[in-house]
Symmetry: C2
Subunit: 201 residues, 2 copies
């Protein structure tokens, strides 16, 4: 099987959520898997001098409108969360813990559950207790998950993973790297599909 | 005929150039016209705290790559200009002068000629003499154009037009407003098409 797609995202990113709803299927159509990489965009924005979309003058208001319209256009379930952006440290660490203990497929499934909780059910996944309860409902060991989210190794993995992402050029969410080729944004999924089909554009 | 699409762009914007190659045809397919609005993104970026794409860390390098790939993906002629971004004051004023003296269709044709000169032929359209020569080749009166570009009324029209654009929410290029609905970016042209077809999304 050809190399996996690297999928970088922040749990607070609406377009990252849109990507999460279809990237596994997109890759599978071309015999590929997806490696899910939760990162912290806050750290990235500090390095690039950017800011979360909702906080940028003019662009922020437009984006909130565009997100709802794009959800309708693509037929993706979406309800605007009460608070946006939120801190995603806990959700990212929980996903990395699932990945390191139960593999990438389990981590992808849990990440999708977290995204849905936030962007469809308006659950506040910046709250560690909410993340743990969602884990419990997903069949994870709640105590082990709670401990894992606090483990030094997991914290360090998220820091290092975010640094490594930036070293690879990642500056936003979603950001997908296919065979070394970078694609930023949900609106580049048509180009990703073409790349997977033809190996070039 | 239904209301015209308002098309806001800066002559230094590659994605604005991409939009310029097809927006008249897109509108015509749905019985619409396009009102072309050159603006100065520099003034907009000052207000929003943003910067020209090529100058943003990580995002700048990615964007240069994405622009070339998107041109190939969409089959649009493109050669990376030697300098980017450039000052577009003269090109914008020239277009407004053509618009005010010869109407919107002539202005659109001249704007397309300027975009092509910059993004295909690598002509430096920040140089007023280049703009005037392109005008001459397009059948415009070179002396009148040269004078028009310096006229106080045209300068004021560009200032006021850029302010008005910001008041309508414009923060980037291309930016298209259809029946009050805003669309930012060449990658929203599929949504514009859907809107023109259905009157909603």
């Amino acid at each position: 099987m050809a190399a996996a797609l690297d999928f970088y995202f922040d749990f607070s990113s609406p377009y990252g959520y849109f990507a999460s709803t279809c990237i596994d299927e997109l890759a599978a159509r071309h015999g590929r898997e997806v490696q899910w990489h939760p990162i912290l965009l806050g750290a990235v924005f500090k390095a690039t001098g950017s800011a979360p979309l909702p906080l940028i003058p003019l662009k922020g208001d437009y984006s909130m409108h565009d997100i709802e319209r794009t959800a309708r256009f693509k037929g993706i379930a979406y309800r605007k969360p009460s608070a946006l952006p939120i801190a995603t440290l806990g959700a990212a660490r929980a996903t990395l813990w699932v990945q390191s203990t139960q593999g990438n497929a389990a981590a992808a499934a849990f990440a999708k559950r977290l995204f849905k909780a936030f962007f469809v059910e308006d659950q506040n996944i910046s709250d560690g207790a909410v993340v743990i309860e969602l884990g419990r409902q997903s069949g994870l060991d709640a105590d082990a998950l709670s401990e894992g989210m606090q483990a030094g190794a997991i914290k360090e993995q998220l820091r290092a993973g975010t640094d490594l992402a930036m070293a690879r050029g990642v500056f936003g969410s979603p950001y997908v790297i296919v065979d070394g080729e970078p694609f930023w944004g949900f609106d580049r999924f048509d180009q990703i599909e073409a790349w997977l089909k033809n190996g070039k554009i």
